[in-house]
Amino acid sequence: MSDQPILRIDDLHKKYQQTEVIKGISFDVQEKEVVVIIGPSGTGKSTLLRCINLLTRPDQGRIWLEDLEITAPHTNVDKVRQRIGMVFQEFNLFNHMTALQNVTIGMTKVLKMDREEAHKQGMWELERVGLVDRADHYPAQLSGGQKQRVAIARALGMNPHIMLFDEPTSALDPELIGEVLSVMQKLAREGMTMLVVSHEMGFAREVSNRIIFMESGYIVEQGSPNKLFYNPEFERTRSFLGKISELYGENQESKG
């Protein structure tokens, strides 16, 4: 593992009109690290992820992706986004395309891969998320969990250096959460660098290397799952984790 982080964020600020959503956030993500961001809703977690792949332009602060400062003026944002996989809470699969086409469209139109190669690679990505048999289905014919797995395959198809997950299971029925989490767990085992906004405490505890607790635009506390769950520095962290564990359950296995 090299010393250079994959992602480095330095003093990030973002304002919407008068409201400051992110008030100075700095942290690094190392290669193969799985970092989970938790915190109450409206604390700027999603905004933070969107700033990282420049879907939202930060007002202040700098972001590096490996050795490239992506917040520098005249950065080619399309090139930057090719290296960052993004998975949305609402899946956002392309409605007019089959599962396979969803995965291959980026390969053919952005990476300029030829069709045959894209088809092969696309099937392989669907295999990775266990959905080869759904390749010809349209999003409307898939369950929520299957949609999200296709969305993960679509992001993986671009060979990203880091994957961002924005509450990937929050729009799912409880019985469908497990299949998505186990795909993510598999990715983590394969060494994918991941930054995950989630309330899934089981996933955070068992899969992540580090948890970042965010509240009202700041990082309150960060550290290993053990530290945050059993020995947090701040009372606020303890009470939030207590509440959320009660709601979502601590144990991932119980969800299958």
Partner: protein, 216 residues
């Protein structure tokens, strides 16, 4: 027997005009489609200046009677550019239709969920690629039902070009009426042809809509 023979002659005569009517309609709808899609895309995704221009274009064109657009093109513009009555009429109808079609497509583009654009950008597509591969293919499908309404209107409005002497169905029906003094027969037959054309067009578009229905 003689009546039937006359009727057959009448229908043959009007059918010759049907080709002209279809020609005007197809040119007008195609022009309106191409310009309309561009206008709608500019309206939704363009700079504030472009967006304002397309809005004003749409507002002005829709406020002017189609027949006035036809007169302007034929009596003013066709004096400087070599345009036949047929082409003047077709293009004038196309310009008028482009304003209505731009509203149809604007509505369709807006009703494509916002997450589609986000997801397209997130896989590294440029804005233009996202519009071309993700937004428009969905918007065009959503636009088929309102568009078939516009197609029926343009088909019938194509009769307006008779005022600048294009020998389409209505113009020919008028000739027949003047010659035979049988207006009911002449215009009745014209109405029947318009009905059949509109009916078939709508059936065709219904089929297209079912074939490309967007499941969401």
């Amino acid at each position: 027997m003689e009546f039937l023979q006359d009727l057959w002659l009448l229908i043959q005569y009007l059918l010759a005009g049907t080709g002209v009517t279809l020609g005007v309609t197809v040119i007008a709808l195609t022009t309106g489609f191409l310009v309309g899609v561009l206008l709608a895309t500019g309206r939704v995704y363009g700079s504030p200046a472009l967006s304002a221009f397309t809005a004003i274009y749409s507002l002005v064109i829709r406020a002017v009677p189609v027949i006035v657009v036809i007169f302007i093109l034929y009596f003013v513009i066709a004096r400087f550019v070599d345009l036949s009555p047929f082409l003047s009429g077709s293009i004038a109808l196309g310009i008028a239709s482009s304003a209505y079609q731009s509203e149809v497509f604007r509505g369709a583009i807006i009703s494509v969920p916002q997450g589609q654009m986000l997801a397209a950008r997130a896989v590294g597509m440029s804005r233009i690629a996202a519009i071309r591969y993700i937004i428009l293919p969905q918007a065009l499908r959503l636009a088929i039902p309102p568009w078939s309404n516009e197609a029926a209107i343009v088909l019938k409005d194509s009769s307006l070009v008779y005022v600048i002497g294009v020998a389409e169905i209505l113009r020919r029906a008028e000739y027949v009426s003047a010659r035979t003094l049988e207006p009911f027969l002449a215009f009745g037959a014209a109405a029947l042809i318009y009905f059949l054309l509109t009916f078939l067009t709508n059936r065709g578009l219904d089929w297209l809509e079912r074939r490309y229905r967007l499941l969401m």
